[in-house]
Every structure is written in C-alpha cells, then in structure tokens.
C-alpha cells in the first residue's frame, strides 16, 4: 500500500499568538476602526486601528483585507519610527503570506523582523517570529532549518520567565516535536510533546492541547504502535469538541482519516479525509489540501475507483509542485502510476514511475535527518561553536559570490554598446541580488557576533561564579575558623591576666596580647573585604549602606545612596555582582577621579533596574582613556554583561562622570 507521508500537522501556530488585541468584533467596532484608520491625519492611532483591522481579518482567514490594511499601516509605522509596531506588522504580513502559500514574500517579511531584535524588546514577538520562520521552513520541507529556528526560540523561552512567554511554551515544544516527527525522530518528538502536555496546569492555548495529542498520535502511528497512538487521537477529538475551530477540526479529521486508513477501515477513512479536504478548501489551506488530496487518491485507488483517484492525485500533484512539497508530488506520481497500470497504459506508468523516483529521492534525505539530530544535541549542551563555524563558512562563500558577481559585472560593462541596454537590465537584477546577499551577510555577521558574545558571557559567568563561591568559602573559613581561634586565644589571655594580675606588668605578655588582638582585627578586615557578612545576611541595600558609610566616614569623599522601589532581595549571585560593580566603581573614583561627592542610585520599576553612579570628579575622555587605569572599568563591564545589562558612560572634563547601567531582573 502506498503510504502517504504527511509532512506535518501544524499549520496555525501563528494564529494562536495573541498580542492582546481587543476582543470586541461588533460592526460598530469595525466601523469606528475604519473611521480612525482612514482619517486624513495619520498618527499612531491610525496605526493601532489598522493593526486591529488586519488582525481581525487575519483571524477570519480573509487574507486580502489583511494584506490591504497591513500594507497601509507599514509605511506609517516607518514614518512614525514606531519600531515595535513595524516589526509586528511585518510579522503579520509574513504569516499572511505563509497562509497564502506565497513563501518568498513570507520569507521576505519574516526575515525583515530579524533586524529589530537588537533594537526592540519584545520577546513574545521574537519567539513568534522564529516560530513563523520555522513553520515556513517546514512547509518547504526544510526540516533542519525549521528545527534551527525553533531551537532559537526555545533558547529564548528557556531564559525568559514572563507569563506571556510561558504561555507559548507548549506551542514551541509542539512545533519542535512536529518537526522531529517529520524527521522520523519519533521518540524525541513524543518526548517534546509529552513535556508540553505535562507543563503545570497546561498554561497554553487549548488549541495546542489538541495539536500536541495529534503529534503524539502521529509519532506512535508512524512507529506502528496503534495501541499507544489511539488514546491520543481520542484525547484530541475530545479536546477539540468544545473549541469549534475549523482549522483544528481540519487537523483532527485528517488524523482520523490516517488512523482509519491504518486500520484498513477505508470507508471511514474516506469520510474523514473528505471532511478535511472540504475544510482545507474553505480555509484556503493548500498546504494541507494537497496532502489530503493525496490521501484521498490512495483510498480511491484501494477502492478501485480510478476516475476519482486520478482527479485527486492530479490535484495533489499540481498543488504539491507549486508549493514544492516533494513528498506529496512523489506520492502523487506513485498513485498515478498505479492508476495507469490499472488502465493498462504501461507507457504512462513507466513515465510516472520515473518521476516518482526522482521526487522520492529528493524528498528522502538521510543527511538532513542527521543534521537535525546533531542540532538537537547541540541545543541540549548549549554549544554554539559549530554554528559559528558553519556561519563563517557560509559567509565566506557569500563574500566570494559577491566578488564573483562584481567581477562579472565589470567584465560585462566593457562589452559593446548594443549589449549595454541588456546589461543594464541584468545589472539591475543582479544588483538587487547583490544587495540581498550583502544584507544577508551583515545579518550573519550580527548572528556570529551574537553567538560569540553569548559564549563569552557563559564562560565569563562560570569564571565569576567560581571566583565568588571561593570568596564566600574563604571569608567563612576566616571568620569561623581562624577568627574564632584568635578570639579564643585572646579570651584565654584575658582570663589569664585576670587570674594573675602580675602579668599586667610583663611587657612580653602585653605585647603578645596586643598582637593577638591585631591579628584578629586583621582577619576580620580581610574576611570583610572578601565577602561582607551583611551582604549575605541582610542583602544588597544594607551592604551598600555600610559600604557608603564606611567610605564617607573617611571624610575625604561623601557617598550618598539613593534607593527606590527595591523591597525584596535579589538572588545572591545578582546581589554579589551588583555589590562588586559598585565596589569597583567606587574604587576607581577614589583612585582616579579626584571627586568629593558621589551619588549611587538604584531604581527598580517592574523588571527594570537602573543603576547610576555619578561623581563630581575631573572626568575623562570616554573615547581615549588610559588602558591601565581602565582595567577596573573592564572588570565592571564584564560583570555588567554577566547580568546581561547595558552600561553607558557619560563623562565631562572638569564636571564629572555619570555611569549608567540598566538591567532586567525578573525575580
């Protein structure tokens, strides 16, 4: 029997990414949106209205209107320099084109969103965009690429603790699992799905619960374990019922068809497939439609209804070719071959058999499977080196291509005048390609830098962590061990002196007594500089108060501490790191700045922590300052990056220096 490989069952991941748009959908609501959107005066309100409109139509599958309003909004966001909405609209355009199976346009818009991540902070959108790119790759059967994108988003998700992100966790896992299953890595796929289903209280969209069950069903079925698969199909049907969602129902029907097909209940299989086919048509989901058409063709073939079989096989073939669904095309040729044999048309049968083989060869790709596996393990071990290497190679190739193209262009320019016109056109085209290549190149450069930076941060983090752990240990040993010993010796001496009053006149005894005392004071001092006890026991703010007071007590410099919005303690690593940063900056100021006043300011609002250290010292040129003096600042910088923070220096000669640091602390 011909087994129709189903590329994947997920379609609408993007649909369920809700950005919190208004839920109201009444006519008056639409009217008022239109009024705002079409006013002659364009401002951020028109953008908001247009965004709502395109979202409204997108959710109803009315893509023409979606495109219309999104494209109206895009230039306005550019004009208003509203990066956040610009990114969002480009993302929506990408999704719309994906659903319209216009992959080139989709890729263009989704790729464009990538440029925003260094500028804007919108983790949900970033994750969604990676997911959308993954879906796009999946639709084009490029599973390794899909997994690559998904791992990017999984990495972001694992790092983030915000609720919105946690809510999309299931769908990212689901998408990963779908792709792994498509790559025939069933166990791993099941693992991810089950992981998502087991997330506490199932935080995600109810739609995802259905999809996840379908994923598991699918994987078990592919492993030929019908007994394990069936319960998950039943769960999917159960959870689907209250949803009343055509897209999800479509998926469920298709999988029901697959199940009945598997247990050779062909009439039920046909009914389910036809239902899914109908829904795909209504929803204009050609991607699924082609696959279901292929399924239907195979069932009709088994039922020996060749006319119907041919009709659906040809349709699957046509859509499959258009959408570059290699498996669908290959399978459709297999069906067509069987039909031709039944018609006794052997010549056509041979032709189809050849075509079947060609497409099957390009579809099955052992190499890609391997790549996915290695990527998976890479993600687990958080190692990015290979990726960097691969990117560098790809990058070099691109550079070479650009050089080659440039050479060709120069060569061409020397040709005769008659050719010039033709060349001119060629040039334009080629120029665009070149621009595209260059853009890709810079994007990759950025990516490489990003990965390298991440790596640095990781190794730095472990180094600093080790250092601080060691300091805590030594300080504790000094306090409790050596400190205790010396204190006890002093206590004995004190008792001894009490018992034998004549010792008060013994110079040697008094000297020893004094030395023991200074030794214990010294130990206390060292232990304190290693790790202040107040920092461990009472937290950052109290420790900073002590630090400022101690420095101010010296009367040379007055340090003021301003703290706003910090009620709770941060985790101890963060506290130690922030303390060290302030310690180091104060050290620098005392050594080099000639300042008389310093303000240290901690302001926390929601997750944002702003730290400002400002002195009234001599200032320095931030562009060219003495490396030897700046070593302290380098340590500060690495500690700031340990906390994923940003640091900026604003210094004026003779007036003073302001160092600003921004952190995101979500605890």
């Amino acid at each position: 029997m011909i087994r129709f490989l189903r590329t994947s069952i997920f379609l609408l991941i993007a649909l369920s990414v809700n950005f919190g748009y208004g839920q109201s959908t009444s006519d008056t609501y639409l009217d008022s949106l239109l009024t705002i959107a079409t006013r002659s005066k364009v401002d951020s309100n028109s953008v908001i209205a247009l965004t709502h409109l395109q979202r409204y139509y997108f959710e109803r599958g009315l893509y023409d209107s979606t495109l219309k309003y999104a494209k109206m909004a895009l230039p306005i966001t550019e004009m208003l320099n509203d990066k956040k909405r610009q990114a969002r609209i480009q993302y929506n355009l990408g999704m719309t084109y994906t659903n319209l199976a216009k992959y080139d346009s989709a890729k263009k818009y989704l790729d464009a969103t990538q440029a925003f991540w260094p500028i804007i902070h919108d983790t949900v959108l970033q994750v969604s965009s990676y997911n959308a790119l993954a879906i796009l790759s999946n639709y084009q059967s490029d599973y390794p690429q899909a997994v690559k994108y998904l791992l990017e988003s999984a990495a972001i998700i694992d790092k983030s603790k915000t609720k919105a992100i946690q809510q999309i966790k299931p769908q990212v896992y689901s998408t990963i699992s779908s792709n792994l299953i498509a790559e025939k890595q069933y166990e791993k796929g099941i693992e991810y799905s089950i992981k998502a289903l087991r997330l506490e209280d199932y935080p995600g969209e109810p739609r995802y619960r259905v999809i996840l069950h379908l994923d598991v069903f699918d994987a078990y079925l592919q492993m030929n374990q019908v007994d394990l698969a069936k319960p998950h199909l039943d769960s999917a049907i159960l959870f689907n019922q209250p949803l009343n969602n055509m897209v999800i129902s479509n998926l469920v029907s298709r999988n029901e068809g697959i199940y009945y097909n598997h247990v050779k209940d062909y009439s039920n299989a046909l009914a389910s497939y036809l239902k899914s086919y109908q829904l795909s048509e209504t929803l204009k989901y050609d991607n699924l439609k082609s696959q279901v058409a292929g399924n239907i063709a195979s069932i009709y073939l088994i039922l020996q209804k060749y006319k119907e079989a041919r009709r659906y096989a040809l349709e699957a073939n046509e859509i499959g070719k258009r959408l570059k669904q290699l498996e669908v095309v290959s399978n459709s040729y297999a069906s067509l071959k069987q039909i031709a044999i039944a018609d006794n048309d052997y010549k056509t049968a041979v032709k189809y058999a050849d075509l079947n083989k060609i497409y099957a060869d390009s579809a099955t790709n052992a190499a890609t499977q391997k790549e996915t596996l290695s990527l998976e393990s890479k993600y687990q071990s958080q190692k990015k080196e290979n990726e960097i290497a691969a990117l560098t190679i790809a990058n070099t190739q691109r550079e070479l291509e650009v050089v080659k193209r440039n050479r060709l262009l120069i060569g061409g320019a020397i040709l005769s005048g008659a050719a010039l016109l033709v060349l001119g056109l060629l040039f334009k085209n080629s120029r665009q390609k070149q621009l595209l290549a260059e853009r890709e190149q810079t994007l990759q450069h950025e990516q490489i830098k990003f990965l390298e930076r991440q790596q640095q941060v990781v190794s730095l983090q472990s180094m600093i962590n080790g250092q601080e752990t060691e300091r805590i240990r030594i300080a504790k040993d000094l306090h409790d061990g050596l400190g205790g010993l010396f204190s006890t010796v002093k206590m004995y001496f004190s008792s001894l002196q009490h018992d034998m009053q004549e010792l008060k006149d013994k110079e040697l005894f008094q000297k020893s007594y004094l030395l023991v005392d200074s030794a214990s004071v010294e130990i206390r001092r060292i232990a304190h500089s290693m790790m202040p006890e107040v920092l461990m026991k009472l937290g950052l703010v109290n420790a900073l108060k002590d630090l400022c007071d101690n420095i101010s007590a010296g009367k040379l410099i007055k340090v003021t501490l301003e703290v706003h919005g910090i009620q709770n303690r941060f985790n101890s690593n963060t506290e130690i790191m922030l303390y060290r940063i302030i310690q180091e900056l104060l050290n620098n100021i005392m050594k080099h700045a000639n300042a008389t006043e310093v303000i240290i300011q901690f302001i926390k609002e929601a997750e944002r922590l702003s730290v400002v250290v400002e002195d009234n010292g001599q200032g320095f040129n931030t562009q060219q300052f003495d490396e030897s003096k700046s070593s302290g600042l380098e340590t500060v910088k690495s500690r700031v990056s340990y906390l994923n923070g940003k640091l900026s220096i604003d210094s004026e000669k003779g007036i003073g220096t302001t160092i600003m640091m921004d952190f995101l602390i979500n605890e």
Binding site: M491, S495, S520, V534, K537, H564, G565
Partner: protein
C-alpha cells in the same frame, strides 16, 4: 538563688565556648547552664529552660543567627540576648537589635567587656561593644542626614530643568549630547523618584520641593 545569672552559650565553635567558660569561671553570680552548637539544639533547650542571658553567635551552621534571634524572641521575652560575632558591620549590629537583641559583643573581647555586657543588659539597657557603638552611631548619624529628601544626580537636575523649559526627550538628548535612550532612562528614574506618573506631575512636585 534568684540572684544567679544563668547563661546559655550558642556557638558552633567549641573553642570559643571554652574561651567564654574560662573567662567566666571565677565570676560570682554567673552560671553557664548550657552550650548549644546549632540553632535546632538551642531552640529545644529553650523550650525547657529560660536562661537570663543568651550569648548568641550570629553565624551558625543550620540557621542564620539573626533569624534565630527572631525565632527565640517569639516565645521568649525574658532572656537577654547578646550577639556574639567576629564582624563589626553596622548592618549586622542594627539587624540584631531590630530582631530583639539586647547587646552586641565582638568575639575578640576582653573579660571585662563580657562582664560589663552582662551587667548592662541585666540592668535593662542595651550594650554595644565600643567598636560596634561607633559604627552604629555613624550609621544613625548618616541616616538622619540623607533620607529626609530625595537627592538628584547632576544629569537629573539638568534634565529636570530642560523638561520644565518644555523640551521633549529627543530635544534634550540633542542639547546634552546624550543618546535618546539615556535621556529616557533618566526621565523614567525621575518619575520613579518622585512617584509621579507624568512629567507634569513631576514638575509640580519638583517645584514644591524647591528643586526647580
């Protein structure tokens, strides 16, 4: 018998406990009734007995000494607690007093200090070792001088002034040669410092506090 001052030593370091015992052995009217090495041990000891003095080491293996002080105070209001540490950080000292401690001794004390401390807290007063005393005074002194009004940084003062002149973020950034993001951070900080939701409110509050 009521005149005898009973003492419990809580310290995980046996030598330190021994040192204290040695110092007190010839003092009349003082009696060490127990030595506990952990917080758990001390809490169960205190369920049965109520010593007049507790000498409490603030770094114990199973619980932070400050927390233990708080825990003891929950059921026991009579015993006088004297913190015993090798550190003299002001934060720790005030932390102990806030949690119901009656005194504070550095471990490298002399016999006279210990006797003095016990006598002082038995008289219902707070005892701080000489060194600790200075620290705490310093901190209180500074507390009085700094927390009354909000201090603005130089940049904040400049930006506040320009905001009151009616300039917006980008204009201020241009004027001060700063990045708009930096100005935005300063602006947000100002709002937070004055608990203001808008620039208008911020300017109003700033004028009222004579900062403009």
């Amino acid at each position: 018998m009521n005149n005898i001052v009973t003492i419990l030593i809580i310290d995980d370091h046996p030598l330190v406990a021994d040192g204290i015992k040695t110092m007190l052995k010839e003092s009349e009217g003082l009696k060490i009734v127990g030595v506990c090495k952990t917080a758990k041990e001390s809490l169960s000891f205190l369920m049965k007995e109520t010593p007049k003095i507790i000498l409490l080491d603030i770094s114990l293996p199973d619980m932070d000494g400050l927390q233990l002080c708080e825990a003891i105070r929950k059921d026991n209001k009579e015993s006088k607690i004297i913190g015993l540490t090798s550190t003299n950080e002001a934060g720790i000292i005030t932390g102990l007093l806030q949690r119901g401690g009656n005194g504070y001794l550095l471990k490298n004390m002399e016999r006279e200090d210990l006797i003095d401390a016990i006598a002082t807290v038995m008289n219902g007063k707070i005892y701080l070792s000489k060194d600790a005393n200075e620290r705490v005074l310093e901190q209180f002194h500074r507390l009085g001088s700094t927390t009354t009004n909000t201090v603005l940084t130089r940049r904040e003062k400049e930006i506040l002034k320009l905001l009151s002149d009616g300039l917006n973020g980008p204009e201020i950034a241009e004027k001060l040669f700063l990045s708009p993001l930096t100005v935005e951070t300063h602006r947000k900080n100002l709002l937070r410092k004055f608990n203001a939701h808008s620039v208008q409110l911020l300017l109003k509050v700033a004028r009222e506090s004579n900062l403009l």
